[in-house]
């Protein structure tokens, strides 16, 4: 199966929202795998990447795809992750022409940090097993120019162990 075939295309999701879980379950049971469309980059010095075409590193995140857990429980967890991710980004994820893909792997956000009592910073998520749900072909909110900015990508990291939303990001 090609990567393109693996992508779960959900057109007119506002009409298909109720059947999204069924569609995904069927697609995933056939493929037996997940999609690894997300970035696999380490976060270098940000100033070194300060171009007009941001990468995942410019959001401070890195994702390393891994083989997903097998079995029905994992499939259910994946479906639940999509549901959680969809709720977290709202209607923009369910618009027409939006494509949804899911990858399992290790997620790190080197910038999302808390400050310890010692004053040192500590990243909230380092090597966290996640389902990374990617919505592609997203129309973002128009700018002050009044024009729609189309074909963007939003990624949502969902904790693989708890099924809880962690964070979302977009850089392209």
């Amino acid at each position: 199966m090609t990567k393109e075939e693996q992508i779960v295309r959900v057109r007119n999701m506002s009409l298909l929202r109720g059947s999204l879980a069924i569609v995904l379950l069927l697609a995933l049971s056939v493929s037996g795998s997940v999609i690894a469309s997300a970035q696999n980059r380490k976060a270098p010095s940000k100033l070194a990447t300060g171009t007009s075409a941001p990468t995942a590193a410019d959001a401070g995140v890195s994702f390393v795809p891994q083989s997903p857990p097998a079995g029905a429980a994992a499939t259910n967890a994946q479906t639940q992750a999509i549901s959680v991710a969809t709720d977290s980004v709202g209607a923009m994820a369910t618009a027409q022409s939006v494509q949804v893909s899911v990858a399992y792997g290790s997620f790190t956000d080197s910038e999302y940090t808390g400050v310890l009592p010692s004053g040192q910073r500590a990243p909230l998520y380092v090597g966290r097993p996640v389902w990374l749900v990617t919505f592609s072909g997203v129309d973002l909110s128009p700018t002050v120019s009044g024009s729609t900015s189309s074909n963007h990508e939003i990624n949502v990291a969902v904790d693989a162990a708890s099924g809880q939303y962690l964070e979302a990001y977009s850089y392209q």
């Binding site: 940000k46 209607a91 400050v115 009044g146 977009s170 850089y171």
Partner: protein, 234 residues
């Protein structure tokens, strides 16, 4: 996706249409109207601000449901000349059941923006939002409470060279039919507004601020001039 790109000129845009009161309970207008950022807040220009901060209470503004509808509140450092910015705050988008904290930056008007959405914030909760230029790293950090959510990928001292960096505290919607977060009974409070104007400076209360609302649907009023104000949907 939110995109809170703005310039001084848009921040003081002429008031739009509509007048749909929603006393006590958030209730967006049934008609969105034309798309365009609608602001309710204040900013200070003229000199470069290396830091801006405020505590903001979270409220969930009702939405008219148009493409790109949103209801947000935030603080921001932005470039006068290049259209770039760095901000953090919270917002509510259509189809999402919760209000989320976020940070977002844009190097300049021709670059792609970078957006990160953090934790869910409970309406009524007060959180500190802060943008602070780090003179060592050369980046602006976008803070939410005790967490640095996102850093710019550029040094504004270089990318915005020759431009002053203004400080801004705003509520924002994308349609006049969207509700600004807060109602007359439970407005959004911006408190402890402060700026940092030089590397060795302390945080101070800004001066010269004038409140401005782009819509007659939205209310805005000082609680303590220059340091705290409320916004709401009428």
């Amino acid at each position: 996706m939110r995109k809170r790109l703005l310039t001084i000129s848009t921040a003081i845009a002429a008031p739009l249409l509509f007048s749909s009161p929603s006393l006590g309970v958030a209730q967006a207008a049934t008609t969105c109207g034309l798309y365009g950022s609608v602001f309710d807040g204040t900013n200070v220009t003229g000199i470069t601000h290396y830091g801006v901060t405020a505590n903001i209470t979270a409220q969930k503004g009702a939405l008219c449901g148009g493409s790109g509808s949103t209801s947000t509140a935030w603080t921001m450092i932005a470039s006068n000349a290049y259209g770039g910015y760095a901000q953090s705050g919270y917002g509510h988008d259509p189809g999402s059941s919760s209000v989320y904290q976020f940070a977002e930056y844009l190097k300049n008007s021709s670059a792609n923006f970078v957006y990160k959405q953090g934790a869910i914030v409970t309406p009524g909760t007060k959180t500190n939002y802060k943008q602070l230029y780090n003179f060592n790293s050369g980046l602006i950090s976008m803070w939410i409470g005790n967490n640095d959510l996102l850093d710019t990928n550029f040094d504004p001292a270089i990318a915005w060279s020759g431009s002053t960096w203004f400080a801004e505290w705003e509520g924002e919607t994308h349609y006049n039919g969207d509700d600004m977060p807060g109602t007359s009974g439970t407005p959004v409070h911006f408190t402890n507004m402060q700026v940092m104007n030089c590397r060795s400076c302390s945080w101070i209360t800004p001066s010269g601020l004038t409140l401005s609302s782009d819509s007659t649907r939205y209310g805005i009023a000082w609680v303590n001039s220059q340091s705290s104000f409320n916004i709401w949907t009428k």
